[in-house]
Every structure is written in C-alpha cells, then in structure tokens.
Amino acid sequence: MHIGDKIGGDVKTLTVVSGKGGTGKTSIVGSFAPLTKNAVFADCDVDAADLSLIMDAEVKTTREFKASQKAFIDVAKCVQCGACEDICRYNAIREYKVNSFLCEGCQVCSLVCPEGAISMEDVRSGQLFVSDTPYGPLVHARLEPGEENSGKLVTLVRQTAEQIARDKGRQYILVDGPPGIGCPVIASLTGVTASLIVTEPTLSAISDLERVLSVCNHFNVPPFVCVNRCDLHEGNVRQITEFCEREGVEILGMIPYDPNVTRALVHNKPVVGYAESAASQHIRTLWDRLAERATL
C-alpha cells in the first residue's frame, strides 16, 4: 500500500521538517519546485519565511492576520492598585505598564481591574500572501517579529493552500516547515499525507531528528528521511542509517555537500535548474522516490 491511499481523493500534503534549523529544508523544497507538475507551495516557517526568495515569487494578494489582543492600561483611570500585576501569569505587567511582548491577551487583568482602566485591543499579528511563481502558486506569511500565534498563522497558510489546490485542480501541497518541534511544527504536520525529515550527519541534527520523528509518530504522520551534506562525517551517517533502520523509517536520499547550492542561493535560485551538479542530481532522485512513495 502506498501511504497516500488512505487520504482518498483529497489533496495530498507533504511537509518538510528537520528539528534542527539550517539543515537545508528550504533549499530542498525550492529545488523540488521545478520538478513538480501540479503543486501548490506553502511556506509554513512563518517567522523566517525564506522560500519565496528562491521561487521568483510575485505577490498577488495580501491579507492582514489578526489573531490576538493585548492589554492596554489607561493611565488616566489607573489608580496603581497593582491588582493586574498580581494576577498576570505571564509577568507582563510591571509598574502599571503592559509589556506587550509578554502579554498573551488572556484579558484576566482587564476583568479584575476595579477601575475599568484596562482595555483589550486587536493587534496585527502578521500578513498572509498568495504569490505566483513559475512553478505554481505559493502561500506564505510574515509573522510580526515578537508575535505569538505562529501555529494559527501556519494553519491559515495551509487552509489557504488547500483552497487554492481545490479551486485550481492541483493535486498536492508541498509544505516547507519550521525548525523545532513546537506549536508551528505541530500545526504544519497534523493530518498531512507524509513528512520528509531533512537531517545532516552532525550530532546536533541527529539529536533533533530523533525528536522530530517522535512528533511525527505522535501525530501518526508517515515519515521519510533524507541526509543532506552526507559526506561531512561517515560515522554519523552510519549512526543515522542504523537509527532509521531501528525505527523502520526509510531513507530516501543522500545529498552531498555542494557549493553550488550556496551559489544558486546568492542568485535567488534553487540549485536544481541552476547547476546540474552533484546536489541537483541527488535531489532529482530524492524527489522521484518521494513522489513515488507518497503517490503524488
């Protein structure tokens, strides 16, 4: 059975994650782009959204993303009783001032204030973009630096990509995921057809591979692995191979270190299509296997 079978006729989604940042997620998704035929792309790394930089993207629509409120204290009404500061679980109020970066918008302070001096106001948490690229539509976003609700913005990016895929009859969505294992990663992984974990032969990346694989298993997402910069350390590659065998996870590709990846990046291009070098060839093979396994 192919892993896509259980999804039926619906749009399939493939999410690329890594645990550790900087292992090459975006370079790989960008390189898949010219190899796809009928895809929608979604950059779910909403606080460092870089995929559009190498996809020759032209923004077509922009939408405001308002997902939270923050507390504001009216100094004219405040009698400095300190009730708000005592009740705030996030240490967001000090000396009768709200630190809006720590405020999570729970409104408890505004409800306890005896003077009605605290109001809750909508804040712009970010923006959502739909762009055209030579390879298909790209949905991406910008979370305002310091904002929360990255998980909600990720969900909005995915929903928008799904809508576009249905409207335009596109068969699958390629998601460039965020690093880590927390809320935006979970929002990028839940309910998807399969995930590709990009790792590299460093102890850090291996440690994070184990953690992000646990998240995939926790949410029942079928995982695949690829090893980037696979020529960096032979012993660590063996460690990854043995780990994946133990876990029953298939390694779909090995990509050697290739300075053409950075050269292509400096010209705002994915390496595939820029230079027919070692990395390009191995990414092509990886994509063919992935498309076959996930029946994209």
Partner: protein
C-alpha cells in the same frame, strides 16, 4: 550580565557561538549557560555537562467539579483562548488551547473549577567544568515552549556572566529567551536567507529595546549584502568567522573550537570585551 545568542534563521551557528563564548570565559568568571532552545536543545552535545538535577515543568488546564457546576457559562465567557465551551449540561475543555491564565478558575461563581497539572518537559541542571549548565527539554508532541523557557530563566543569578542560547525564529519562544538580556548577539550567514532573517531579528531586538551586535558565520560564503545592511543600519559586526573545514568536522562530533584551536580562545575573549563595551550598563 546576560548575553543572549539569537538568530532569525536556524542553523547559522548560535550554539557554536554560545558554547565557545562560555568556554572562553569559564576561567575568568562565574558562567551560567542556559540552553533555551528547548525544542531542539543541542548545547549539551558540546559542553558535555554532568546533569545532577532534573525536574518536570508543568502547566495546568482546568477541570470541572460536576457537582458544583451550574453550567452558567462564565468560564467560557472569560476564556480568551476558547479553551472551554459550555453546551447545555456539559463543559468541554480543550487543553491544547489553554494558556493557563487562571481566568476561569478565578471567575467561576461556584468555585467549581480546579486544575490538572500536565508535564510539558524537563528542566535539567548540572556542571560542565566550571560552567553552571541549565537546559530545558520540551516533550515531543507538546506545543507550548514559553512556560518551560520561563522556568529556566528563573535560575539566572545576577553575579554571573549568563549566556542564553535562544531558539531560532522571531516569535514568542524567542521573546521569552532574549527578553531582559543586556546584550543580544545575532548570528547570521552572508546569504539571502541569512540577510532576510537577520532583518527580522534586528526588528525584534529594536522592538524589545535590546542592545545588539552581529556575528557573521561562514563569512566567506555567499555575498556582501549582510555587511552592507549592518553598515547602513548601524548594527555593529563584532565577529566574522570564515568557513573552516576542520571546525565543521569537529562540529559534527560535538567538539567546540575553543580548546582545540587556541586562537579561538583569544577571539572569543575579545568578543566578550567588545560586548561589554556595548552592553546595557549595570543598573540601567
């Protein structure tokens, strides 16, 4: 003195810089090291601390006392996160939406709400040589790391040089990690991705009113646009580390540069002196 090491983009070398800075300073002063990248903590691989204390970090979500609850709906009304809903004679609780603000418990007129604690990860501490080492480990499957980072940072003591290894990105876990620091080092690489994410990180430190400087890692790959941006914005570039194959191979095995290559000891001590000159003055 609290020095946070952050970056918009992941994988630029935060942990490398934080670890080497800590090692360079360990014989000069009391050093506390905090790995606040609780989703992907890796500094332990380089510092190899002996962990002597480990405790669970918990958050709470509400529970309803069925005999007291009158289904009045007040809890759902005060919850800004929609973590509770009251339908006829049932209260539905969505723990994954709960921010543990305490509002429902506080405003329930029947005192019918208690709380159930829930472990989100571990706070571990110990020593790596002379360095007091602290790390958080978020349990895979858990979404919210800020409470764990908050718990970690409660261990900061004033009389030490405190080095905080922050998570990547610019969202709420990063704010928790770098907030309150006297200086923030932003590690980047000279590529379009590095620059794009550096600009976001600079925006964040400016909003938080933190003093900051840049470390350009793998300074000889890519282009010169990061340097041009820093010059234009007046953000000081405090260190440039060229790509070094020997260092990269050491990194794969968890071996930090300081200790293997003696010149790095001097370079990181100099980095600390430069930071001291630029950091928020004591008592400010």
């Amino acid at each position: 003195m609290i020095i946070a090491v952050a970056s918009g983009k992941g994988g630029t070398g935060k942990t490398t810089i934080a670890v080497n800075l800590a090692l360079a300073l360990e014989h000069e002063s009391n050093v506390q090291f905090f790995d606040c990248d609780v989703e992907a903590p890796n500094a332990y691989l380089f510092l190899k601390p002996q962990i002597i204390h480990s405790e669970p970090v918990k958050t709470a979500c509400p529970t309803i006392n069925g005999t007291r609850c009158t289904f009045c709906g007040k809890c759902a009304e005060v919850c800004a996160f929609h973590a509770l809903a009251v339908v006829k004679d049932r209260v539905l609780i969505f723990p994954e939406l709960c921010h543990d603000c305490g509002g429902c418990e506080l405003f329930c007129p029947q005192n019918a709400i208690g709380k159930k604690e829930h472990k989100i990860g571990l706070l571990e501490s110990g020593y790596a040589g002379n360095i007091a080492f602290f790390q958080g480990r978020l349990t895979p499957g858990e979404a919210f790391s800020p409470p764990l980072i908050r718990a970690l940072k409660r261990m900061v003591t004033d009389d030490s040089i405190v080095i905080v290894d922050a998570p990547p990105g610019t969202s709420c876990p990063v704010v928790e990690a770098i907030e309150g620091s006297d200086f923030c080092l932003l590690v980047t690489e000279p590529t379009p991705f590095g620059l794009h994410d550096l600009i976001l990180a600079v925006e964040l430190v400016q909003k938080l009113e933190l003093r900051a400087g840049v470390v350009v890692n793998r300074a000889d790959i890519g282009d010169n646009k990061v340097e041009a941006y820093c010059a234009k914005e007046g953000v000081p570039v405090l260190m440039r580390l060229p790509y070094d194959q020997e260092l990269a191979i050491n990194y794969t095995q968890g071996v930090p540069a300081v200790g293997v290559l003696p010149e790095y000891q001097q370079r990181f001590l100099q980095l600390y002196q430069d930071i001291k000159g630029l950091a928020r003055p004591l008592g400010d």
